[in-house]
Each structure stands twice: as structure tokens, then as C-alpha cells.
Symmetry: C2
Subunit: 181 residues, 2 copies
């Protein structure tokens, strides 16, 4: 374990070399991968990744229709982030919004025919790209380890933020992960 004295005299445990390399490689990998996936999806289908993510979630629900709050929880997005995104997607005809009768505060979000066609067209090349850049090069044990590592970090992040409001730290704990492929 490396310790370094800072100017303030505080004792800081820096990352060791292995951790440092892993951390920087992880960040670089994520940045390059998502940038590439975004570019290919935009070019092939005219959708951004945020568009696609929303459409996938909707398409996995019966009738392509769900409450906005449920969608926000599903995606682990802030309410305002979802609202802004839905506004843009509505303008482009990918989704529609309607009011909720049981609870008149609520809003429903619904896939349009155009939105459904868009996500069905975008999914195949996207999945192929995820395979090509990531999974085709990984062994099964590595895939399993990637999930284990990710879940470990998610658990430590979720346990950290216990009493915090809104969406920064999740107010939901029992939903499935965000659908992105």
C-alpha cells in the first residue's frame, strides 16, 4: 500500500500501480466503446443511445406503454432528465405522452408506430456492434467476472447513499438493470 504525504500533511492512500492501470483502462474503454456505439447507431438508425435506451424500455412493456415514473426507475434516470429526453423524442414522433386517469398527477408514455419501427431497426446492428467490440473478444469466465465486478461496485454505491433524496442515489432497490442492448 502506497502512502503519500500531501502539502496539508494528510496521509492519503493512493492507488497502487495495478489499480491505477486498471482504473485508467476502464475509463478509456468505456469512453471509446460508448462513443463508437453511439456513432454507429446514429449513422445506421438516426437514434442516439439515450433515444434507444428509452425505446427499448418501452418496447419491453406490454402495449409499449408505461408510467413516466416507472420508466425513470427502470432506467435509473432523474425525473428531469427523463422529462427533457421525452420532450425531444415526442417532437420527433418517437413517443407520445398522455394523462393518467387514476392519478391525475401522473403521465403515461407510449411508443408510437414510428418509435417501434425505429427501435426494431436499430437493435440488430447495435447488438452486433456490442458483440464485435466487446463480447466476441471475451471468454465466458471474463464475461462472468465483468458482471461480478460491476455488481460489487453497484452494491457499494447503493449502500453508500441510504437517506438521500430524489434520484442521485436510487430510491428504488428491487428493479432490473437499465436495458441498453
Amino acid at each position: 500500500m502506497i502512502h503519500v504525504m500531501t502539502e496539508s500533511g494528510t496521509d492519503v492512500r493512493w492507488l497502487d500501480d495495478d489499480q491505477q492501470r486498471a482504473w485508467r483502462a476502464f475509463l478509456e474503454m468505456h469512453a471509446k466503446l460508448t462513443a463508437q456505439l453511439n456513432r454507429e447507431m446514429q449513422a445506421a438508425s438516426g437514434l442516439s443511445m439515450p433515444d434507444f435506451t428509452v425505446l427499448v424500455s418501452l418496447s419491453e412493456h406490454p402495449g409499449g406503454r408505461m408510467r413516466a415514473l416507472e420508466l425513470a426507475r427502470d432506467l435509473r434516470w432523474e425525473k428531469s432528465r427523463l422529462s427533457h429526453q421525452l420532450s425531444r423524442m415526442q417532437q420527433r414522433g418517437l413517443i407520445e405522452r398522455s394523462h393518467c386517469d387514476e392519478d391525475r398527477r401522473g403521465a403515461f408514455v407510449e411508443l408510437t408506430a414510428q418509435g417501434r419501427a425505429a427501435v426494431e431497426g436499430a437493435a440488430p446492428p447495435h447488438v452486433e456492434a456490442v458483440r464485435r467490440y466487446l463480447f466476441d473478444a471475451l471468454q465466458p469466465a471474463q464475461v462472468a467476472m465483468l458482471e461480478t465486478i460491476s455488481r460489487t461496485a453497484i452494491a457499494s454505491l447503493d449502500s453508500e447513499c441510504d437517506g438521500k433524496g430524489d434520484s442521485a442515489c436510487q430510491d428504488t432497490a428491487e428493479l432490473d438493470p437499465s436495458p441498453c442492448a
Copy 2:
């Protein structure tokens, strides 16, 4: 291997269950982790992660001074992304820009005293957070695997984009990874 017939009759190899779970967990982990690190850095030091990333890179160079293009390569950022970021940081007094004598197209970027103080103050709590949320919960073999997986994906991404311009696909191949901790 699962095959699915789409409407267009194309044969698509979808992700299998293990891959699907790993992929979604990976995306969720990265999103939560970076959001949390961003929030803590903003609260503790008034810096965003992009600010910090730039300052770290500068502080690791002699004199806290380097060419803009070198910085862009170091961070694997587009020229325009860096330029916008530097404009904001210059306004806040974190860096200064000056002209290059040898090549009058070029620009130098230099850490100000304030910028150096900011990054030195921000680094310790940031590193602690990275340890707390990620590395403290990982075994050495998992850290090594994370790096291996990341480098595998980076390699497949780098080999994919060979003849492409500017920065989307890297025009550099022999530099160190982006410094972010």
C-alpha cells in the same frame, strides 16, 4: 448461441443471458460510479470531472505546461471538446493559454497557481472515493481482470477504426491512457 429472426428476415445473433446481464451491469456500474464521483468532487472541490482530468494531465507535465494538441492526445479528446473545456477553465482562472513561437498555429496551455492548488486539493478525496466505491471491494485478481478486459476491448476498438480522421478514432497509438485518478 441464440439466433432470432427479425421482421426483415435477417438472422441476428443476440447476446446470451450471461452477456446480457454483464452488459447491463457494466453500464449501470459506470453510470452510478461516475455520477457519484462527479457529485463528490463538485461538492468537495468545486471541480467537475472534466476539469479535474485536464488539471491532472497538466500537473503531470513539467512546468504544468504543454501544447494543446499533446493534451488532446493525452486525454483522447477531440480538439473541439478540449477547446471548449479550456475556454471555460480559463474564464475561471484554472489555466492560461499562450501562443507558440516555433509553430504559430499552436497553442500552449499552462496551469495557474489556482489551478494547481485546485487539483492538489481535489485529488486526495477523489482517490479515496475511487477506492471506497470500487477497489476496496475488489480482490487483486479482479483488478487484474478488469484491466485485461478493458485492454481487450480497447484493442478491438482501435483496430476497427484505421483510416478515419480526427479524433473519433484515435490518431495516436503510443500514448499512455487518460489520467483520471
